[in-house]
Every structure is written in C-alpha cells, then in structure tokens.
C-alpha cells in the first residue's frame, strides 16, 4: 500500500509542473499591467515604468518563470501586487476559511439531502415517489448554482425577508448563529446541483448491489428488506458515495467563485476573480497552484480509500 501511495504521489509531480507552466503562461499572456493597476488612475507613464522595472516584469518570461518556480519550491509564493506588502500565502490563508467552510457546509447539506432520498428512490423503485425524485434530481442537475442562488435570494431575501441576501459572517468571531443565517443560502445553492447528482449515484449504486447474488441470497434467507438495504447494500455502495463526496468537494471549491461573488463572500473564488481583474499575477498563480494541488490530492485520497477497500485496484 505504501509503495502504491508513493508511486501515485510521484505521478503528481508532472501534473503540478504542467499546471504551473500553464497558469504562468496564461497569466503573463494576459494584456494589462499590474504596475498600472497598482498605482491607480492618475499615475504617469514614468512612474509605471519604474515600478515595472522594480517588479522584474521586464525580464524574459523564462527568467521570470524560473525565478517564480524556484521560490515556490522553497514555499515562497511571492507577494501580491494589488494589496501591497501582503504575501500570497498570507492572502490565501485569510481567504481559505470562508471557502472551505462554504464547501464543507454545502457538502453536509448535500449528503443529508441526497443519501436518504437516493435510498428511498432505490427502495421504492418504479413507484411514483421514484419518478418524482428523478424528475427533481434531473432538474437539480440542470440548475447552475448562481441561478439557484438568485432564485433563493429573490424568494427568501427579497420576497419573504427571511434571510439576508448577501454577506458573510465568520463563525469564530461573529458567532455560529449569524454564520448559519448568512451562509445557508450560498451553501444550498452551491450544494444543490451536487445533491441531485449524488442522489442519482446513490440510487444507481444501490440498485446495482441489490441485484447482486449475495443480496438475493440474503433475501432468500428471509432477511428483512429494510435491513438488506441499510445494512448490506448501503455499506457496499459506500465506495461510490465516497467518490461522489470527493468530487463534490472539488466542484464546490471550483464553483465557489460564482457563489462567492453572488453572495459577497470573501473567499478564494472571489479573490481569484478580483486578482484576475487587477492582474495580480502572483496571487492568481498561487491560488491556481493551490487549488490544483488540493484537487489532485483529494483524488489521490479517494483512490487510496478505494485501494484499502478493494485490493484489486491497487494491484492494477
């Protein structure tokens, strides 16, 4: 097992290398000038040129890449140009919490919504409930998160005035109550599309297990249907569910950009969009690298869990 993990970790190196090259190229091919953005509307060309020079933006691209990559290897992601004097790692750290809380909260909602519904749909296969649930899940998959979010804002914030339309509260400093009041709409709109997807996957994998021989055997032995679904079948379809949770987490991290902007949450997604606006090269590079890393690590984690559960996989 250890060997397998090491092998997989080594395979990540080229992926991360490619991500770094791709993001570096994209960032430096983007028109616009961080120095100009840094100095504001009334800056003179001479001032901009001087800052340009000081930031090392006049060097050849390859020199700039090597300089940046070398620093990254030592753990130094550089400094932001849009927010003077702030280290990129510091900025990522301060924007990480809202995003991660949002992702976790939305995943919790997803799991609590999707698993029971998926099981019900599997148990009552072919019934009216099942059809209703599949239409519901199909509709869910088709709703982009910002539409879902906007609809909920219109409904719960504008019409009924039950919840605030936008804003963010830190659960540690502002209290857990305000946190839930502000973050429930964003979390639901971020998680809904995935809940629909997860429900379908839960149902499909349960059905697959339920049609296997050992379940038939259990049925023949007279085990109660309820016990069959919850004890035998569900346990075996857990693997699929774990995968889906992992993917959901990744897509929550990515989808956060849109939801954070809609709800005014100061997370990594909105930092990324802002940084692109301001041509904050180092921050864009840092965040992308970081999210890509998270992404591949979560995937690796899923595979490792799989490997523990199913020895056939790690032998492949």
């Amino acid at each position: 097992m250890g060997k397998y993990v090491i092998k997989r970790l080594a395979a990540l190196i080229p992926t991360i290398f490619i991500v770094s090259v791709v993001v570096f190229l994209i960032v430096h091919l983007t028109p616009g000038d961080p120095a100009a953005m840094m100095l504001g509307e009334d800056a003179t060309p001479a001032d901009i040129a001087a800052l340009h020079n000081r930031l090392g933006l006049d060097d050849p691209l390859i020199v700039q890449y090597v300089r940046w990559a070398g620093k990254c290897l030592t753990g130094d992601l550089g400094y932001s140009t849009a927010v003077a004097g702030q280290s990129v790692s510091g900025m990522i750290a301060s924007h990480f919490l809202p995003t991660i809380l949002l992702a976790v909260y939305s995943q919790l909602i997803t799991v609590f919504l999707a698993l029971p519904l998926g099981m019900i749909a599997a148990r009552k296969r072919g019934s009216l409930t099942d059809s209703a649930l599949s239409v519901f899940s199909m509709a869910g998959i088709s709703l982009p998160s910002f539409m879902m979010g906007m609809g909920m804002v219109l409904l719960f914030a504008v019409s009924f005035r039950l919840m605030p339309a936008t804003g963010y509260k830190n659960p540690f400093t502002d209290g857990i109550g305000p946190f839930f009041r502000y973050m429930t709409l964003p979390a639901v709109s971020l998680g809904f599309i995935h809940a629909a997807y997860m429900m379908r996957m839960t149902k499909a994998s349960l059905l697959e297990v339920l049609s296997s021989d050992y379940i038939k055997m259990a049925r023949a032995k007279g085990v109660k249907e309820r016990k069959i679904v919850f004890k035998h079948a569900f346990r075996n379809s857990l693997l699929t569910v774990i995968t889906v949770i992992g993917q959901g987490f990744i897509s929550a991290l990515a989808g956060a950009a849109v939801v954070e902007r809609l709800f005014g949450i100061p997370g990594m997604g909105s930092l990324m969009v802002d940084s692109i606006d301001k041509r904050d090269y180092q921050v864009i590079q840092g965040i992308t690298l970081m999210i890509a890393m998270l992404n591949v690590l979560i995937n690796l984690l899923i595979d490792v869990i799989y490997g523990f559960a199913d020895p056939r996989i790690r032998l492949k």
């Binding site: 028109p31 000038d33 953005m37 009334d42 000081r54 003077a84 004097g85 914030a157 339309a165 804003g167």
Partner: protein
C-alpha cells in the same frame, strides 16, 4: 423610546448638578465602535503613493495629518504647521511646526520627519516634481522647514492640502522602512499624528482604527469642523471599516443593523433606505462623468458635434439613476475656489440639427465607425449603448470596444486603438490635476493654445489671476477644443442610522467627532 427620554432628562439633571462630569457621563451613552461598510480596500494605504479614494477617505486627517489642510471654502488652514509664510512671488515657503505633537509610536514630530516625508512625497508625485524642479524641503531648525524654488508655484499649497496623493507626515522611521520590492510603507509602519491609529488590516475583511490617546488637537473645541480643518474630539474609541465590495450587501447590512454607516449606496437601493425611517441618506458630488476624446484621431468639429448632440440625462440616468447632476464645471461644486459655469451653454445641448451641421464640417468619415472604448463592467456599458443610439441619429455608427479595466487602462494609451473612451474622474484639489487637460495623458490634449493657457494658470502670481485663467480654459474647452465630452457629475450617496451624529461631510465623510447613540 420612553426609556431613552428618561435617560436624556436624567442626564440633563445630572449635568446641571455636576457640570464638570458632563463629558464622562455623555460618553457612556454612546457606543464605543462605529461600524462602517466601505466599498473596497486600497492597495497599500500608503497615502504618498496610493491615489485611491478609499485610502484617502479613511486615513487623511484621521490617522495621518498634513502641514496644511482644506477648509470648507477651499481655502487653506494650518494643521501640523502652527503657521506658514509664502514670499511675494510664490517661490519660497516656510512652515513653523506645532510643538508637542506626537506620533502613534510615542515620538515627537520634528522637522526631520517632515523633511523625510515631504521629500518622499515629491519623489512619488510627478506633478509636484514638475512644479518644484530640483528643490526639496529643508530643515532650518527642529520646528521649521523651508522649500525654496527657482520658479513660482501658486498651486503648491493647494497640493500640500488637498492632492489625491496626500502630503501626509510620517515619522522618519516609517520612510526608512519602505519595502524595497513594492516601494510602499508596510502596513505596520503606517504611523501618523492623527486622532486614530491604524491598528489592524485584515485583507479583504476589515481595517480597524483605534483612538490615539496622546493626540494633540488644534482649533477651537467648541466650534464645528471647517472642511477638514478644526478640533478633532475622537469621541468614539474604534472605527471599523468593513470591506464590503457588493453594494447590495452594504445596504442589507445597514438595514439589518450590522453596520452603522454604508458608503456608495447605489441608485437601485435608495428606495429601500428611504422606506425605513431609522436611516438617513445624503449624497454629494464626488467626481465627473465624461468621455475623453483621442485628439490624435478626431477633429474638433466631430467633438463639437457630439457635444451638441448628447442628451446628458438619458446617458446618466441608465447608470446613476438619480445620483448625478448636469453640472458643466470641470471641478466639483464643493470646491468653491475653482467653481465656474463658463462655457455652460455648450454643455450637452441635445440638438441633433446643430450636431449635423458641425459634423458636416468635420473630416470624420461617417462610413467608418467611431471606436468607443470602455470598461465592460459596472455602468459604463449601459451609457455607451445609449450614446451609440444617439450617434446613429446623426449618421455615425459606433464600434464598441469593451474591455476589462486592466486591459482598457493599457489600450487607452495607444492612440491608434480608439477614438474616444468613457471614464469618470474623482475630485482633484486644483484644475491643473485634471489629467484630460494634460498633453501626455491618454487622449493627448496637445493643443498649443490650451497648454499655453494651462501654463499661464499654474504660474499665475495670484489665485485670482489663476482662477480667471481657469474660467478661460473651461470656456475654450467647451466652445472650441472639446478635449472631453463632459456629461456631468456623479454623486456618491451614503446612508447611516439616525443614531449616528456629528459626522462631518466634506469631500468625504469623517468620523472624528461622530457619536453613535446606544
């Protein structure tokens, strides 16, 4: 409400009985924090370099102070200077510093700090650099600094008092601590002499300012503030600026009681605030709305034609709603010293017939589109869209070039890429800082006559003479040269709870003497 009244009367009785304890008692009825929803954060909060409105509004006079500052009528009052002298031909300046003024780090302010700060300010600010040449501030003793120029500089005092890149005084140690890579003073070295300390900056979340107990006030404690000048009480212990980029979020937070004050309230939200009698709304002119012509690719007849054609209301309303004025002055109405309506008969005339006549004299080829450059977010696209439709009525087709802000800022420096670009300008203390009048800024107002008039204004011997010259410049711009299509001024609206009193509105809103009833 009843309880509140009782409290008030109780306080009044107690105040009568024990006159000397009034301040202590009064303070107890007020909250110790004012929570302000700010719309953005500055990139550095280093006022010498950062030209952003956010940095200036938050810190000037609050955390850092200047030798001189602006009064409400646009005149200049001494702040960290006790007094100052200027020689007859405006070329030698002497400032006598107040004694016993302390920085937030406990050190007393002396001429060394002032010289270090102001010379860095000159180095960082090209307009002033051009004004003063090689001359720099010098200390003649611990409490006197001088600046001696080879030429006259009538506007130098205005710059020291009101430039967007503020001439604030830092301790010499802060100047020495400038980050070599970025050129900015690091956040923990943002030290001044003001009534509040810059105590914490959580990026993208908030800035916390805390009262500085050793602050040395000036002016009359019983008088109201005069512009930015006067006695600062610092009643409230902490000012929290929450960085809230989304306009709806600021208003939601205000209405929900999360904030006491919200900046930049948008037109779409005015109804919601007006509907609630616990809140007050006010607005003031904060900048001009315009399209800057590329003078290298257009002739003045085309520019005059569009000026004759434009309907300012239709253009402004789609972006600003009610938050604008059709005011022709190139300076804001609060800037009494420079306000003029010269040339206003040419301001957006909404006269298609005249526009057609002028267009006929132009060399502009109407078979080709007019290239309009703008930032494709915010309100600009809507305004440009309306302009495009207006232009069609006199037979001009438009090519809309919408770009993100960074790209647009770059594109507008390329004279072959566009004919006119949309932008807004924030307030400047003197007209010579209006960048669209300069020959080397985007749009290139290289007209010799204009530049001669500009020089005459900046080198005028007296302020009256300079103002007369300024009126002529504005008249000439409207009637003949048309460097910009002036559309008016936008207002910035702010809203706050009615419990907040004593805040001071001049160019921005200051909380030096503000109190929030509990």
């Amino acid at each position: 409400m009843n309880n509140f009244k009782k409290l008030l009367s109780l306080a009044a009785v107690l105040a009568l009985l024990t006159g000397c304890f009034i301040p202590a008692l009064a303070e107890e009825e007020y909250a110790d924090v004012i929570r302000i929803a700010d719309d953005n954060q500055a990139s550095s909060y280093d006022l010498h370099k950062d030209t952003s409105v956010n940095a200036r509004n938050m810190l000037r006079g609050t955390v850092m102070e200047q030798l001189v500052t602006l009064k409400a009528d646009g005149s200049i009052g001494p702040e960290l200077a006790e007094s100052y002298e200027v020689n007859e031909n405006n070329s030698a300046f002497t400032f006598h510093l107040r004694k016993g003024v302390r920085f937030h780090n406990g050190k007393e302010m002396t001429s060394a700090d002032v010289v270090a700060s102001l010379n860095r300010w000159i180095e960082s600010f090209s307009t002033v650099r051009n004004m003063v040449g090689d001359a720099r501030f010098e200390a003649s003793d611990d409490y006197t600094v001088t600046l001696t120029l080879n030429n006259s500089a009538i506007m130098l005092l205005d710059m020291l008092a009101g430039a967007a890149q503020c001439a604030v005084i830092y301790p010499a140690e802060s100047i020495a601590a400038v980050n070599a890579e970025t050129g900015f003073i690091p956040a923990d070295q943002l030290i001044g002499t003001g009534p509040y300390k810059f105590s914490e900056w959580a990026v993208d979340q908030y800035v916390k300012l805390e009262r500085f107990d050793d602050y040395a006030p000036y002016g009359d404690p019983d008088a109201e503030l005069d512009g930015l000048w006067g006695y600062k009480h610092a009643y409230t212990g902490t000012l929290m600026y929450y960085i809230t980029k989304d306009a709806d979020t600021r208003v939601n937070g205000l209405l929900a009681g999360d904030y006491d004050f919200a900046v930049k309230v948008t037109d779409a939200n005015l109804d919601r605030i007006e509907a609630d009698d616990q809140f007050t709304l006010y607005s003031q002119q904060t900048g001009m709305i315009s399209l800057v012509w590329n003078k290298r690719s257009t002739d003045k007849y085309l520019r005059q034609a569009v000026q004759a054609l434009a309907n300012a209301d239709d253009l402004n309303i789609v972006n600003y709603g009610v938050l604008y004025d059709n005011d022709p002055c190139f300076m804001e109405d609060g800037q009494l010293g420079w306000y003029t309506t010269a040339g206003s008969e040419y301001f957006c005339q909404n006269d298609p017939e005249k526009a057609k006549e002028l267009l006929a004299q132009s060399s502009f080829d109407t078979s080709k589109p007019l290239r309009i450059l703008y930032v494709n977010s915010g309100g600009a696209p809507a305004m440009v869209e309306i302009l495009k439709q207006e232009l069609e009525t006199i037979g001009i087709t438009s090519e809309l070039i919408g770009q993100d802000r960074s790209t647009m800022t770059k594109t507008r420096t390329d004279d072959t890429a566009y004919d006119v670009f949309f932008t807004t300008f924030s307030s400047v203390p003197v007209p010579s800082l209006r960048s669209f009048l300069s020959a080397d800024w985007a749009g290139w107002s290289e007209d010799e006559k204009l530049q001669e008039m500009m020089t005459a204004m900046t080198t005028a011997a007296t302020k009256e003479e300079a103002f007369a010259q300024w009126e002529k410049i504005q008249e000439y711009c409207y009637a003949d040269y048309c460097p910009v299509l002036m559309l008016g001024h936008f207002h910035q609206a702010a809203a706050c709870t009615k419990k907040l009193t004593g805040y001071n509105v001049f160019l921005t809103t200051n909380f030096w003497n503000a109190r929030l009833a509990k």
